[in-house]
Amino acid sequence: VFLLPGVLWFLALIVAPFLVNIAVSFTKWQGVGTPIWTGLANYQKALGDSTFWTSFRNNLSLIVAMTIIPTIIGLFLAAFLFDYISKKFGAGVTSFFRAGFYVPQVIPIVVTAIAWRWILQPDWGAVNTLLRAVGLGSLAHNWLGDPATAMPSIMTMMVWFQIGYPLVIFMAALQRVDPELHEAAALDGASWLQSFAYVTIHLIRPEIYVVILTTMIHALKVFPPVWLMTRGGPGTATYVASYFSFRNFFEISNVGYGATIATILTVIIVLITIVYIRVQIQQQREEGPYG
């Protein structure tokens, strides 16, 4: 009985639209009138559509910017704050820095985008001003307006945005690690880097998995940064899957095709989610429930 409101809500607002969306993906539909059943035609179209591939390739770039780089930086930064700064300067300084690095995650993405557009602005933006000041003015250019640099610029912004998340999680994880293990490693003559690589990383592996899988899903779902920074442009240089389907839905009324792209994206995400669930179940079996 207590489950009823939640499940009804869930069925009406998530399951139902989800199924309708899949059905629409097999049709040609302008958003008005009757959808025309076209079977797999939309899927065939997607496979041969270069914009479709650009979008997903850009999602891959975002995985680099939001998963791989932040996880690595986050690991080192967390270990550095935890092993070094907190011992030399105390917990207050440490949590001050932790909070500072987490700030980008709390700022509304709209504000982030506005500020970054200024940083990258061609005439007086921070990047170009800096380049000119150190005599590299020839490197200054229109970062977001050039197809070659638009995506790397967004990636840089996303690294900045994302760092705080792995940092906070890894620092919490490190508190779980028994300091005696490091002392034992040090006694055996292990350097800091060795003990970091073999002891720390091994022990906080569950958190590393969680961070990698959740940030991958976030990177696949990215919409606001792209919409705010470039609207997918110049041309289609910064299209991502979610923006591509949004555009088909609401800007060019190609609803059927938009639904197809959304469905393909969903399938990929659900696959990653299943891996995530399996990893969690496995960890619970291995180590028992904790936390």
Binding site: F2, L3, G6, V111, V211, S242, A262, T266, I277, G291
Partner: protein, 274 residues
Amino acid sequence: MAEGVGKYFSLIALSVLLLVMLFPLYMVTINSFKTEEGYLATGPFRLSTNLTLDTLKTTWKSTDYTTKFLNSMAISLTTALLAVGLSLFSAFALGIGKVKGKVLFLVFFLIAVMLPSESLVYPMYYFFKLVKLYDTRTSVVLFTAAFHASFGTYLLASAFSAFPRELIESAVIDGCSKLNLLFRVVVPISMPTLSVLFVFFFIWTWNDLFTPLIFLISNAKQTVPLAMALARAEHNVTITLQSSAALLGILPCIIFFILFQRTLTKGITAGSIK
């Protein structure tokens, strides 16, 4: 001696990194208080001696910030309350009551959390238009709450399965009804977890751009982030005005962040490792 130097060197390096991280925030803040002339004279990066509150006031008026703020408040509060309530009931059934197929339910909820909103949004858009809920704040609340409640159910159910069983059993023996059990025993004890959820739902809803973008079209119903995103597109908006709009958008979040820093840190961790 070398030890001491290295110690401060590392602190300085870390501070420089932090400054780089906070640079965009600094830019937004200083430019919000400049006059138009002050901005032209100093550029975007230096402080101006000519500070004013007028820019902020103008922005406040031109974006009708009061309305946007109240919209955001109303939407975020109701969504967070509703989502916490829904999660509480579902998680009570799944985590404490005995429901068949519990794991399956949880897997479904977790997958729902991960779904991209693009895969749901068009049918909802069409449906809301059909039932005349399109362009109402209610539509945003209904849709967002469903997502958040899925996450909340998933998280709370695992928190509840670690709930001390003796407490529940003794309450049941004392003839406690299920509703009483929920509100007299479970809710008071899990208040910390519930408040973490509430804070999270509030911030997520507040910062969400996609859902309001799709469902809210009239100016009077838009939220703070959406109004800011759309304000940028208007041509007569100067940098200082944009800047102050951005500052007005940040402030509620920063205040919230400072107030709930501890709760949040706890929550981020709880969300990842269940």
